[in-house]
Symmetry: C2
Subunit: 173 residues, 2 copies
Amino acid sequence: MSFSITKSIAILERTPNVLSSMLKNIPNDWVSCTEGPETWSAFDVIGHLIHGEKTDWMRRTKIILSDKTDKSFEAFDRFAQFKTNRGKSINDLIIEFARLRETNLEELKTLQINESDLKKTGNHPAFGPVSLKQLLATWVAHDLSHIAQISRVMAKHYREDIGPFIQYLRIMN
Amino acid sequence: MSFSITKSIAILERTPNVLSSMLKNIPNDWVSCTEGPETWSAFDVIGHLIHGEKTDWMRRTKIILSDKTDKSFEAFDRFAQFKTNRGKSINDLIIEFARLRETNLEELKTLQINESDLKKTGNHPAFGPVSLKQLLATWVAHDLSHIAQISRVMAKHYREDIGPFIQYLRIMN
């Protein structure tokens, strides 16, 4: 097992700057390109991350650590961002995500989570009991997986332009 | 075709800050973890990017645009970083990469590459003639593919910690 709270916060607190470094003020093609129909652009991914900050990670953390008898999580809406972010710019989303993440990490730190807290569980709507450690580790890995996704989507924007070099770039397939 | 010089520089000039945002001063586990034997850590990937700045992209660009009869590229050493970076810190590599990239982009901009330049070719050691457009598009996609790789390698560091959530994170497989 590799998890620690310190290592987790080190990733979670970096993600807003990573996304800003990648996408702030960038030509719009990079923000709007996708991998094809029904796939997500960088804009869509950041909208999804915003929705997670609002409704998923910290809300579930607080359910796990609460004294409630029923520790069921609400289902997460993977498509909420398509309704809520119409008309916004990528810079708007970057700022909104950074603000939400900062507030969430401040709250996370005040919880002073210890080893016994990490073993406490809540009830996930799809697969039942999950521990606080699993939830927080997933928050971290989820950030990293979406940074990888954004990079992959953007790389594929040049798929037809790289010619024979495609043999060396497995990300294109 | 999606390529443009402006869009390409927009990515190339962001990469040093993206890497710095991800990795500067981060706990060392994140820098040294790999996907298993014979795979690369974030440290190794940045070493590889540094070697590209020194020996690949701009050198090949200048060969293509030169008046030489023989426009053969030298082969690129994919393992040079394992020799040259022993004893360095991740912060050292981030700074070195940023400095090299800045110099290369300054030089790229002075070349004032136009549409007819983009069609000129050099000879790649593995697959023969490649155009300047293909080379520059690959430089961009190569950056993005290695940002995706670093994110994936780091995500997998928590593979055993996320429990049932692994069903939702395809990056782990």
